[in-house]
């Protein structure tokens, strides 16, 4: 201090003579002197400020200014400092301060000379750049940020040594825009090219996370920032930074392990998440989606063992899942049904991954996906496949049946025609002709039967109607009056007048006709046929019983064939083995069923279960 005062006392007269705006401070930042211009600039009087602590005058700038003054005292020449008038109380004009060390005759630095120049646009830009650089350099030491500067006109790229480190390149490497972009992964390359073009064309700055392949092949995430600079509305340069953010990503992952709720996506994923302590099985946390899924409050789960909330199926699998976690770090998706608070059963698909924390706590991160609609669709699909497989099977059977039936007739025709061809005797020929006629009748009969079967199968899609059973029965009774008279038969109708069944009119008619004519056809040889019709109601079905006193069927022997096609059990001339097959198909087509009780020589009871739905 003593030295500086000495030095100042003898050599400062010149300052009053010069036209520039200059101020001199000593090593302790005390104001030694200032040129008249400077005093005018800042509207200060030297008498008032001499010996004052310089930084107090510009307290708004003190932090930045102090570091620069220190640099200057260390011998750095021509440090530029931008003075923003609006930040300060003294001058209304922006300016640039050039800081230079003030030396005595022996070369010792005894203070700082600050020359104040009015600012030009270019200078301002340059200042900003160097300021950015300074800040970047400071930051880069902690955050591994490299800075770069691309001269658009010269197409030259410069960057700091840290960028070489990030790229994994030797320090003498000379970058160009093209080869620096080539280090990015393909998709990232596209992005960065677009960003550069946009910056040059429209002045748009960028801040983007991209993937970079280092020269040693390692792929890292980098954060690149670019800011285009314009001169006379033309982009002249882009300055920016690049930072390796792989480690920060890593740190975030660690953070998840330590305290899972800090996982940033925990609440954002569109499915339920729960974190379960691996050792105790207790739920540590669940996300919002999980709460939505279960419709319980969060408190319902936290701190409780997961086994309280899953069904026995999953409980029994507990050990196996634990083993999977131990061996593979995760378990394969499992599906289970969960009853939520609204008493809805939902199908859940659960997966789990082991999350190892630094604190030594191992937990399981489980995802829960509602697959109810998916499961429903799957089930529908399966039943559709099953039913179409069944239909296919039926079709194949039908095809075999048709071909068999028609072939029988065809071979008969050809047989008889051959005989006819060889025969000359008139009587014999007439016999063959008669057989041909009967063969033709048989064929027509067969085709008629097939047509009836097809009709049942094809009218399944028609709508069922609520029909009065007695009205339908009346029509049928009219049709069989002839048969009844012939056989002295009698129908006893015990059906209440009000009884209605849901059925297709044509089916109901066919079923009733078939059953009643069967009862008459297969009547006992020594009894007059009596047919009793009655109704029982149960929860799902209206059951019509048709009981007769006819021949009966040995159900032990033929029970499983009774409703089969072309199965006849009595030596009756007009048995075709089609009636009961069709009746059964018609009942099933209406979602109903048919059952039978019978004793040979005593009679048969058919029960028709009409579905109420």
């Amino acid at each position: 201090m003593f030295k500086s005062q000495n030095s100042s006392s003898f050599s400062l007269d010149w300052i009053n003579q010069i036209p520039s705006s200059i101020v001199i401070i000593d090593t302790d930042f005390k104001l030694i002197s200032a040129s008249p211009r400077w005093q005018a600039n800042f509207e200060l009087d030297l008498n008032d400020i001499e010996g004052k602590y310089f930084l107090d005058l510009f307290s708004e700038l003190s932090q930045d200014l102090k570091s620069r003054l220190n640099y200057s005292l260390e011998g750095l020449r021509d440090i530029k400092f931008k003075y923003n008038a609006k930040d300060c109380q003294y001058s209304s004009k922006d300016s640039i301060w050039h800081l230079n060390p003030w030396k005595d005759g022996y070369g010792n630095i005894i203070g700082v000379i600050i020359k104040v120049d009015p600012i030009s646009k270019t200078q301002e830009l340059e200042m900003e750049l160097s300021k950015t650089k300074l800040i970047l350099n400071q930051k880069s030491s902690v955050a591994k940020i490299g800075s770069w500067d691309y001269d658009v006109q010269k197409e030259e790229l410069h960057w700091t040594p840290i960028v070489n480190k990030i790229y994994g390149l030797p320090s003498e490497y000379q970058p160009t825009l093209e080869n620096s972009i080539n280090f990015y992964l393909k998709e990232s390359q596209e992005i960065i090219k677009k960003l550069v073009t946009e910056a040059i064309d429209s002045g748009k700055p960028w801040n983007e996370k991209l993937r970079l392949r280092k020269s040693d092949g390692e792929v890292i995430w980098v954060n690149t920032i670019g800011r285009p600079k314009f001169k006379e509305s033309k982009c002249t340069r882009i300055i920016g930074t690049i930072q390796n953010i792989d480690e920060s990503t890593l740190q975030k992952k660690n953070a998840l392990n330590q305290s899972p709720t800090e996982y940033p996506l925990f609440e954002k994923v569109p499915f339920g998440l729960a974190i379960i302590n691996f050792t105790t099985g207790k739920l540590l946390d669940v996300n919002e989606q999980f709460i939505k899924l279960t419709s319980f409050e969060k408190e319902h789960f936290l701190g409780h063992n997961f086994k309280n909330f899953v069904n026995s199926h999953i409980k029994s699998k507990g050990a196996e899942l634990k083993n999977q976690l131990k061996e593979h770090g995760s378990f394969k998706p499992v599906k289970f049904t969960y009853t939520n608070q609204k008493k809805h059963n939902i199908n859940i698909k659960m997966t789990g991954t082991l999350v190892e924390g630094n604190s030594g706590v191992t937990s399981v991160l489980c995802t829960f996906e509602n697959i109810t609609s998916q499961t429903k669709l799957e089930r529908n699909l399966k039943s559709t496949i099953a039913s179409s497989r069944e239909k296919n099977e039926q079709l194949l059977n039908f095809a075999h049946m048709v071909s068999h039936n028609l072939k029988t007739h065809a071979t008969n025709f050809s047989l008889l025609l051959n005989f006819l061809n060889d025969e000359t005797g008139k009587i014999q020929r007439n016999k063959y002709m008669n057989m041909l006629f009967s063969a033709s009748d048989n064929l027509s009969e067969t085709i008629k039967g097939l047509r009836e079967i097809v009709a049942v199968k094809s009218s399944i899609n028609e709508e069922k109607k609520l029909l009065s059973l007695n009205e339908s029965l009346f029509v049928v009774e009219q049709n069989v009056t002839g048969l009844l008279k012939e056989t002295y038969g009698k129908i006893i109708n015990e059906i209440p007048e009000t009884t209605q069944v849901k059925a297709l009119p044509a089916y109901l008619n066919s079923i009733l006709t078939n059953c009643i004519t069967n009862s008459i056809k297969y009547r006992s040889h020594d009894k007059k046929p009596i047919i009793i019709l009655s109704i029982e109601e149960n929860k799902n079905y209206t059951v019509l019983s048709i009981e007769d006193n006819g021949l009966g069927i040995d159900l032990e022997k033929y029970g499983n064939q009774l409703f089969g096609l072309y199965k006849t059990f009595h030596r009756n001339k007009d048995s075709r083995g089609i009636g009961l097959y069709i009746t059964k198909n018609q009942m099933e087509a209406m979602n109903g069923k048919i059952t039978v009780e019978s004793m040979p020589n005593e009679g048969t009871t058919f029960r028709f279960h009409f579905n109420k739905k």
Binding site: H400, H404, T408, T411, N442, Y566, R571, S575
Partner: protein, 134 residues
């Protein structure tokens, strides 16, 4: 050619029975031909022959689709009868259902009788071939 004593036709179709009879008559020598319109009647008749120590048919033509007792049911019952001699059973059918073919293979392999499977139509050559003593 050895003369065949007795032939049985089991078929519910009168025309087929007529045709078979006529073909057999014109192709081979035989003693008698009996025909039955279903398996039950045929089985009853054959069982009666056995019980009375009468000659049972050496060759049987058997239809599959018949009322009351079909061809397979007849075959099952027939194979249980105590018959030591080898009977030739010619299944004659117009069925193309593969299940019928499987049934035949099943029965063929578990019996000492000669069981053949023949698709209609049967012509004169076929008749000569399959109307021989087993």
């Amino acid at each position: 050619m050895t003369k065949i004593s007795d032939i049985t036709i089991i078929d519910d179709d009168a025309i087929t029975v007529f045709g078979l009879r006529k073909l057999i008559t014109s192709s081979v020598e035989y003693n008698t031909i009996e025909s039955y319109s279903n398996g039950k009647i045929a089985l009853d008749a054959i069982t009666a022959f056995l019980n009375n120590n009468q000659q049972i048919p050496q060759i049987i033509f058997l239809d599959i689709n018949m009322p009351i007792m079909d061809g397979w049911e007849f075959l099952k019952a027939f194979l249980e009868l105590p018959i030591t001699q080898t009977i030739r059973i010619n299944i004659v059918t117009s069925s193309i259902d593969p299940r019928d073919y499987k049934q035949w293979e099943f029965f063929k392999n578990k019996s000492h009788h000669l069981i053949t499977f023949n698709q209609k139509p049967i012509d004169r050559n076929k008749i000569t071939e399959i109307t021989q003593l087993a």
